[in-house]
């Protein structure tokens, strides 16, 4: 029988539509202004902490919409942004040093929807407001820094081996070593190929000369390190600012994208991203009582510090070595198979470290991570700039042996922690300079404007098309309109499901799809009209209409998809958003316009005798 879908096909279509409605649903609930608290240390919050915070908020008299504690994170929802900001300020004042307070717009999705993984669409920065930075790591500087290190190392290596050289100079990206005899040179080549594997050694024309340059592989490594270091540092700093959903991503070989949704004060964000960090090695003071120091009576010659987990610790005031004496750090395993970090010091650092450790075997030594940042704060309507020094003890370990140029730090919990520490050490000590090469900030008022305007244009465009189709194609037009409605719903559902970022151009993509989605139906309906004009029966006209239009629809849409793919491939942020919605729109429209309308047409006209089609 013509124009009848088998039951499974009808069910399949209905299931897809139902899922579409279900997963599009979260977008109707909007957002709650909320405050998110998380631990800034490695230990997660306990229930007691959550209770404590809840009491603070309740005592303040600010109405709390809901309070959630999950996975060590606290989320307090409020009725409006005023309440949210008041509470955030309050908590920032009263918080312990272990708490990060972030403003967030938490989706007000009901629990049952969240439990099936249904979340609202992820809004791009142009819609929710926030800051987007593109940072470029100065790779030339990273390489130059490495060259300087090798230059120093080669000189000290020659001195250590008691080889007399005429000169060691930097020569256009290479290090030129001039020796006194050819024999010396051969000895140096020998040393270099053993101890400086990362260098390419070329013998000069002059028999006593040789040139060393950083090999291509080593250069690649240096660049990779520079990028990884900077990303780690940035990630740590962003965590300190308290941003709910930050994005820190590598882009290309030497760039980093940082997106901070909801952050309005770019000046402050720039300050924080631009802070410098360093490291210090200090001996721990085990002779004195830590608790006394906590209550304000630190012994002379020692200072109170805090560990990662918030534990207080006394360290000697005298610094053994500082971060700028660290030339490299890498992670690995010690001879017992425990996670370790291998550190390389420069000549001066090595000497100091050697002396200090020789005298203090068996005593604990601490690594202190130091950040300098300038912060601008509003105090009583006035802006106050404050330079802040933040110190954190990242590792405490017992000295087992006399250290020299290269040594290892053990006592770490896992290889992961070792990797992080190595990165931090490198990050603190040798981060290559970064430049902000692109900045896009969208204020909250514009973000909301963009959402409103986007919604309005989708709505108006949609209604115009609905009216036009209904007038022109009558019953069939109405059917196409139902399909168009579902098309919109499914696009939203897919965007919500894959959590693609919705941007303003993305909304434009949806609007455009609405216009183009009817194309498939227009093709089909025109074909049906033609068939009727050619004297075919309504039933067979419907059948051949759908049949013949199918190939055309496919061809036409594949080419558009092709363009959307190119757009996606080259696009940055906003353009990508457009490409994503356009491609999803095309694919979804194929489903709704062909299968969806056919199902309804079959229900309305199929399986019975009809004289005339309302088309």
């Amino acid at each position: 029988m013509q124009n009848r879908y088998p039951l499974w096909k009808n069910i399949l279509i209905l299931v897809v539509l139902a899922l579409g409605v279900l997963y599009a649903l979260p977008n109707l609930f909007g957002n709650d202004p909320s405050v998110q608290l998380s631990s800034s240390t490695t230990t997660k919050f306990e229930q007691t902490k959550a209770d404590e915070i809840e009491t603070i908020i309740k005592n303040s008299g600010i109405p709390l919409k809901s309070f959630e504690f999950e996975d060590g994170k606290i989320l307090a929802r409020f009725n409006n942004t005023d309440d949210q900001l008041k509470v955030a300020d309050l908590l920032r004042e009263t918080k312990g040093r272990d708490t990060t307070v972030a403003l967030n717009l938490a989706p007000a999705t009901p629990e049952w929807l969240r439990s099936i993984g249904a979340d609202p669409m992820y809004l791009g920065l142009d819609l929710r407001g926030g800051v987007h930075f593109l940072l470029e790591v100065d790779m030339d500087a990273a390489i130059t820094q490495a060259e300087d290190r090798y230059y120093n190392d080669i000189r000290s290596a020659l001195r250590a081996k008691k080889i007399r050289y005429q000169s060691v100079t930097k020569d256009n990206g290479r290090i030129k070593v001039k020796l006194k005899t050819e024999q010396d040179k051969l000895a140096v080549v020998e040393i270099m190929s053993n101890d400086f594997r990362e260098l390419n050694i070329v013998e000069g024309k002059d028999l006593t000369e040789l040139f060393a340059s950083i090999s291509e592989n080593a250069q690649k490594e240096i660049k990779k390190f520079a990028l990884a270091q900077n990303m780690t540092t940035l990630r740590n700093r962003v965590n300190e600012i308290g941003v709910a959903e930050p994005v820190i991503q590598q882009q290309g070989d030497n760039r980093i994208v940082v997106q901070l949704p909801g952050v309005q004060d770019t000046t402050r964000a720039k300050e924080i991203l631009g802070t410098t960090a360093t490291l210090e090695y200090r001996l721990a003071d085990v002779e004195h009582d830590v608790q006394k120091a906590v209550s304000g009576h630190a012994p002379i010659g020692s200072r109170l510090f805090y560990e990662k987990n918030g534990q207080p610790i006394l360290l000697k005031r005298r610094v053994i070595v500082t971060g700028d004496q660290i030339v490299d750090a890498s992670s690995g395993f010690d001879q017992n198979g425990a996670a370790a970090v291998f550190i390389t010091l420069n000549g001066i650092g090595a000497k100091k470290m050697g002396k200090m450790t020789q005298k203090n075997i068996g005593k604990p030594m601490a690594v202190v991570f130091i950040e300098y940042k300038t912060e601008t704060r509003m105090v009583k309507g006035k802006k106050i700039r404050k330079k802040e020094k933040i110190e954190k003890v990242i590792s405490v370990a017992t000295i087992r042996d006399t250290f020299s140029k290269k040594f290892q730090t053990t006592g770490l919990d896992s290889p992961q922690e070792a990797r992080n520490l190595a990165l931090l050490l490198r990050a603190g000590a040798l981060a290559a300079p970064v430049d902000i090469v692109e900045e896009r900030t969208v204020g909250p008022s514009l973000g909301q404007d963009n959402i409103n305007k986007g919604l309005m244009s989708v709505l108006v465009g949609f209604v115009l098309v609905l009216i036009f189709m209904a007038v022109y194609y009558k019953t069939f037009g109405l059917i196409a309109n139902v399909a168009l409605g579902f098309n919109l719903v499914i696009i939203v559902a897919v965007l919500s499901l894959i959590q693609a970022t919705l941007t303003l151009p993305g909304i434009a993509g949806i609007v455009l799809t609405v216009g183009m989605a009817v194309d498939a139906n227009v093709l089909i309906f025109e074909r049906i009209k033609e068939e009727i004009k050619n004297g075919n029966t309504p039933q067979s006209s419907i059948f051949t209409g759908y049949e013949k239009a199918f190939v055309t629809i496919l061809d036409a849409n594949i080419t558009t998809l092709l363009v959307a793919l190119v757009l996606f491939g080259f696009g940055t942020g906003a353009i990508k958003g457009f490409a994503v919605t356009l491609s999803i729109g095309i694919l979804v429209s194929l489903f709704t316009a062909i299968l969806g309308t056919r199902m309804i047409v079959n229900k309305v006209y199929g399986d019975r005798h009809i004289e005339k089609l309302s088309i």
């Binding site: 902000i436 008022s445 465009g461």
Partner: protein
């Protein structure tokens, strides 16, 4: 030929003249005036601020001038309460701090602080890259289309469709050049979308031409193509109208940021509709399309199978 059919291909000479004029004017303007590139491509700083009351632009300008921003352009954006300030990339000045300095300068004299709506800073090197990537994207999509159409249809069609696309792109760019409308990343995306749209139109027409070449027994190429164009005409117009409807909504209601994007698409859709009828098909005809070009290839193997 049927009564109410339009002889599209008979008017191809007129179309050729119209298209030639449009293209020549566009190219001349592109060479003479160039495109008014946005900061996405040129690099620079852009600050959009909002006031509760319409501010005095002249005053803002002089404030900025006094603070050392001589090259700042100040204009209203969308409404009289919104102001857009543009700064060219400056050498030797930390671009990062530029936007903050501008804001400080403005707020230092104003009684009511401005609401920051948008800050964009694009470094010159990033701008160059975006421009280059954009050009490449255009070329890649053209190339991809050339291959796809040649594979699905025939190389004459593929040349016809790409020629029509160049036609559309050049005229759309020409429009932006003649009226000196700002050309930024979103407009580039629109131009690429125009390629997709216009191609969609062209493919539908080609599809029908191919079908008719295969099914209609008699008739010259020109007649068959005319029949095909007439058969697809109402579809071509219908789709263009619905798309144009939503684009008008977008242009009028979508806000200033998306305005030029919608305009580019509107022009593109108009030109694309015209070109799929008056450019893409005449070129295929001029290249000497014949029925044989489109006959389904008979596989050699099949003949052998039929041998006893």
């Amino acid at each position: 030929m049927l009564k109410n059919e339009i002889d599209f291909l008979g008017k191809r000479k007129i179309a050729l003249i119209i298209s030639s004029i449009l293209i020549i004017v566009s190219i001349i303007s592109l060479i003479a005036n160039g495109l008014k590139l946005g900061i996405d491509f040129t690099g620079g700083t852009l600050v959009e601020i909002g006031y509760k009351k319409a501010p005095d632009l002249a005053e803002l300008r002089s404030t900025l001038k006094d603070s050392g921003f001589e090259d700042a352009t100040v204009q209203n954006f969308g409404t009289t309460k919104d102001v857009l300030i543009r700064l060219k990339p400056q050498e030797g000045v930390s671009n990062v701090e530029l936007s903050s300095k501008v804001l400080n300068a403005i707020n230092s004299k104003a009684t009511e602080p401005a609401d920051i709506r948008r800050v964009e800073f694009v470094g010159p090197q990033v701008g160059d890259e975006l421009a280059e990537d954009g050009g490449l994207a255009l070329l890649y999509s053209m190339f991809g289309i050339l291959i796809y159409v040649a594979w699905r249809f025939e190389h004459k069609f593929s040349l016809g469709s790409v020629a029509a696309l160049f036609h559309d792109v050049i005229i759309t760019l020409g429009f932006f050049s003649i009226f000196q409308m700002e050309f930024d990343l979103t407009v580039l995306a629109a131009v690429l979308a125009v390629i997709g749209y216009s191609l969609n139109d062209t493919i539908v027409v080609y599809d029908r031409i191919r079908e008719n070449f295969r099914t209609l027994r008699k008739g010259r190429s020109e007649e068959i193509m005319n029949i095909s164009l007439n058969q697809t005409l109402s579809r071509t117009l219908m789709t263009s109208i619905t798309t144009a409807l939503v684009l008008v909504a977008l242009a009028l209601l979508g806000g200033e940021i998306i305005h030029n994007f919608a305009i580019a698409l509107l022009i593109g859709v108009g030109i694309g509709t015209y070109s799929s009828i008056f450019v893409a098909s005449p070129i295929v005809l001029a290249l000497g399309i014949t029925k044989e070009d489109l006959m389904l290839p008979v596989k050699e193997g099949e003949e052998i199978d039929e041998l006893p």
